[in-house]
Symmetry: C2
Subunit: 127 residues, 2 copies
Amino acid sequence: MNVPETVLTAMRQTNELFNSEVVAKRNISGLDQVYTGNARILPPGAEMIVGRDQIKAFWQQAIAGLGLKSVKLTTVEAESLGDSIVEIGRADLGLTDGQTLTVKYVVLWKQEAGQWKWHVDIWNPNQ
Amino acid sequence: MNVPETVLTAMRQTNELFNSEVVAKRNISGLDQVYTGNARILPPGAEMIVGRDQIKAFWQQAIAGLGLKSVKLTTVEAESLGDSIVEIGRADLGLTDGQTLTVKYVVLWKQEAGQWKWHVDIWNPNQ
């Protein structure tokens, strides 16, 4: 990893916000701090979704539909590329029925108003 | 897209090699021209796979197992980041049983010995 520790810390804060605010409290407006305004997500089983408003609608439905209770995000690799960062990670999903799922992801990070956010986000299940 | 046309052409050549050599002819050694030596792939339903030799073993099995006949790769977006490129794309998979599948992907490209290759490759199905 060639990413400074201060930036890795900022990334961890964004990732933890997704868990503690968006998933645990179902506070969808927390996604303003997680995704850039023109972010793209590529979810399994759906078309690419463009823009933070559409992404909010996706997560509102997905969190309720899946019964998502927690999402623990762990950075496996991170590389600075120009003014962006590419992260490979692992997500441990806790569901309200007690099940757990393991997901891997690639996120392209960009700074927006000084904050590190997810700009491209794609994932798939390990199982 | 801020990627020069010459580089987009080189990327198309790599993508087409995957289709015409690796998939259509089942010439797995063609992957030497497609992936960097220490590339990573993140396939749905499996753990991350590291290194070109392991990636070859994965594709040998997956192409036969799925009955893959053709893979048409289309770049949706490409962005230069430092000495790398991040591509968002769409893959139309043709199977030997006549079925077609649509997949979306994110690839991090790097140059290896002057050739543009896939360094991180993650995808998932649209359906």
